[in-house]
């Protein structure tokens, strides 16, 4: 018991340390901004002939958002949303905390938008550094090359709006340790989520599945975003544990580019990117975030964007009752009703309407998806312009070997024996390889 207590104590301390490290990154950025101001170098001057412009004082921290319409009020145009009747309480944004995972072409722009909106606090996660190859996207500047994306972002954001509390966490969330650390940083002292929303701005399936798992474990709503590898389409998706489909419920949806896929060159490089598509997706993502946080408008569960055809397919995604993620199934059954809390009813797929006859959007519903015994998949027809990016997981067993159970015998030798066997087999390989 004592040992358990000690371990819990250590974990608690580790948790506090990692949180403090994140806060330190924010404080450092503030300090550096202050030092630069003292040097008069915080605002790059447009012309060397006007050095006086560099002496401009930073604005002081505001304790409350003023609705007063004066040129010096940074929030007058946002508070006007209230006067116009769009938002009932804009100031509520000051109490909101948002985590952004992936500070790249979409995440950095989303962070800047929320910073300018006066969000209470932002937690930024990324493991990468700024490179010149990123300069075709918005936000980062060439002189920030080599800095971690989190440090470069906090440095810029603190100058834009000193009212926002910033935490930067340089972390790869897909590793075993990274996963635990990510979950710890998002949790409060009672192991509940301490954020109001998580924005996924990552560029790979592994990281999305990690966010999915952590958000299921914390019962935390999140918004997923993505831009296609050919840079001409993208999507955003709302994921509410147990209420909408989790990221493992169905294979990820992608928006068809709208032109013949065979004419798109895929060879050679792994990804293209455009500041336009990324800016549009960041805008859609943060608009969704604001609507969720400040409770206005309708939040469509899935919005796709095809830039080549100026087409925005939308749909809602029900959770899969036989989702491969057990926690998702558990959360589904704990929901009082199947009603989607924030669905835009108009956006629901009308299943009675026939598919487009000429199939301009190249809808691909893999034959195995139709045959699959997974009921939720069969029920949910995909609207025009959307298709699955990965095959549907075989629900029971692989088609390659339906007798998989027979192949494996769990009563075999111990782990140590097997490791030894592998070592022997592997090392004896080396000898005959020299024959070449």
């Amino acid at each position: 018991m004592e040992a358990e207590g000690a371990i819990a104590g250590i974990e608690n301390i580790e948790q506090r340390i990692s949180k403090m490290q994140g806060e330190m990154q924010g404080i450092n950025a503030r300090l550096e901004a202050a030092v630069k101001l003292a040097d008069g170098s915080a605002y790059p001057t447009a012309s060397a002939a006007k050095p006086a412009a560099a002496k401009k004082e930073p604005r002081t921290k505001e304790t409350a958002m003023s609705a007063e319409v004066v040129d010096s009020n940074p929030y007058s145009r946002l508070m006007a949303l209230q006067r116009m009747g769009i938002v009932s309480n804009y100031q509520a944004i000051r109490q909101k905390r948002v985590a952004i995972v992936g500070i790249g072409g979409v995440g950095s722009v989303a962070a800047e938008m929320l910073t300018r909106c006066g969000i209470g606090s932002l937690l930024l996660f990324d493991y990468d550094k700024v490179e010149l190859a990123n300069m075709n996207r918005l936000f980062f500047r060439p002189e920030q090359s080599g800095m971690t994306k989190t440090a470069a972002a906090t440095e810029t954001l603190i100058n834009i709006n000193p009212d926002v509390e910033l935490e930067g966490h340089t972390l790869n969330i897909t590793t075993l340790n990274g996963f635990d650390e990510f979950k710890r940083i998002l949790s409060d002292d009672t192991d509940k989520s301490r954020v109001d929303l998580v924005l996924s701005c990552v560029d790979n399936y592994e990281a999305r599945m990690t966010i999915n798992q952590v958000c299921l474990e914390l019962n935390q709503t999140w918004l997923e975003s993505g831009v296609s590898e050919d840079a001409v389409s993208g999507h955003i998706q709302l994921l509410q544990p147990g209420i909408t489909a989790c990221f493992a419920c169905v294979p990820p949806l992608v928006v068809a580019s709208g032109i013949d896929e065979r004419t798109l060159k895929r060879e050679g490089v792994c990804a293209a990117s455009l500041p336009t598509t990324m800016g549009i997706i960041a805008g859609l993502l943060v608009q969704h975030a604001l609507k969720l946080l400040l409770k206005f408008g309708e939040v469509t569960p899935y919005v796709g964007y095809s830039s080549l055809k100026d087409f925005f397919p939308t749909m809602s995604l029900k959770p899969n009752e036989s989702c491969s993620n057990g926690l998702c199934c558990k959360l589904q059954s704990s929901q009082p009703t199947s009603e989607l809390a924030t669905t835009n009813p108009a956006a629901d797929v009308d299943e009675s309407s026939p598919f487009h006859e000429d199939n301009e959007w190249g809808i691909e519903v893999a034959p195995e998806a139709e045959a699959a015994s997974s009921p939720a998949l069969g029920e949910q027809a995909l609207p025009e312009g959307l298709s699955y990016s990965l095959p549907v997981q075989q629900p029971a067993q692989s088609e390659v070997a339906p007798d998989a159970e027979e192949h494996m015998d769990n009563t075999e030798p111990s782990l140590e024996d097997l490791m030894q066997q592998l070592e022997t087999a592997s090392s004896s390989n080396k000898g005959d390889s020299k024959a070449h």
Binding site: L176, D180, T210, A404, N410, E412, M419, H436
Partner: protein
């Protein structure tokens, strides 16, 4: 996708035992007692098959927990053997997501690679993994991921002069 695999790879992968445990590295006990044992059995079988057909192409070893794997892999091009160190960490969401195999020494030498030397498997391998999860394991990732990548990229890199024979 499967139609485009060469017959040798298809034959090899059919003989690698499939896995049944859905445990990942975060399910500490199940991982150790079930999944990791199956991974090892599957790998031992795959290596034995390679030996029988005189087509060994890699060595492999892991840490105690079976969460970090590394070894050497080689590819013979025009009678010359090119050998590289490979490695990967088991991701937290394994086996739902595939391992991301790295060859750090080839980082920056081909466009079919992500930062840090992760080989690009998006098109040819990830869909297969998604379809067959959790039955595919590390042996399948090597057979269907790393081996075809080497076969496609090594001759290309040699042709470009990006890699040279090690003395």
């Amino acid at each position: 996708m499967a139609e485009s695999w060469d017959s040798g790879t298809k034959e090899a992968v059919k003989q690698i035992p499939l896995l049944t445990s859905i445990a990942g590295p975060r399910d500490k006990q199940e991982w150790q007692e079930k999944r990791l044992k199956q991974e090892l059995q599957s790998l031992i079988k795959y290596i034995q098959l390679n030996k029988q057909t005189d087509s060994d192409w890699f060595t492999i070893t892991s840490n105690k927990d079976g969460t970090h794997w590394s070894g050497k892999c080689w590819y013979v091009h025009e009678l010359i053997k090119y050998e590289f160190d490979w490695q990967f960490d088991i991701p937290a969401t394994y086996p739902t997501t595939a391992p991301e195999i790295e060859i750090p020494e080839l980082d920056g030498k081909t466009a079919k690679m992500y930062r840090g030397g992760k080989i690009c498997l998006t098109v040819h391998f990830k869909p297969l993994w998604a379809k067959n999860s959790p039955h595919f394991g590390i042996a399948h990732a090597l057979c269907l991921g790393l081996a075809p990548w080497l076969a496609a990229e090594i001759p290309y890199m040699i042709g470009e002069g990006a890699i040279k024979v090690k003395s």
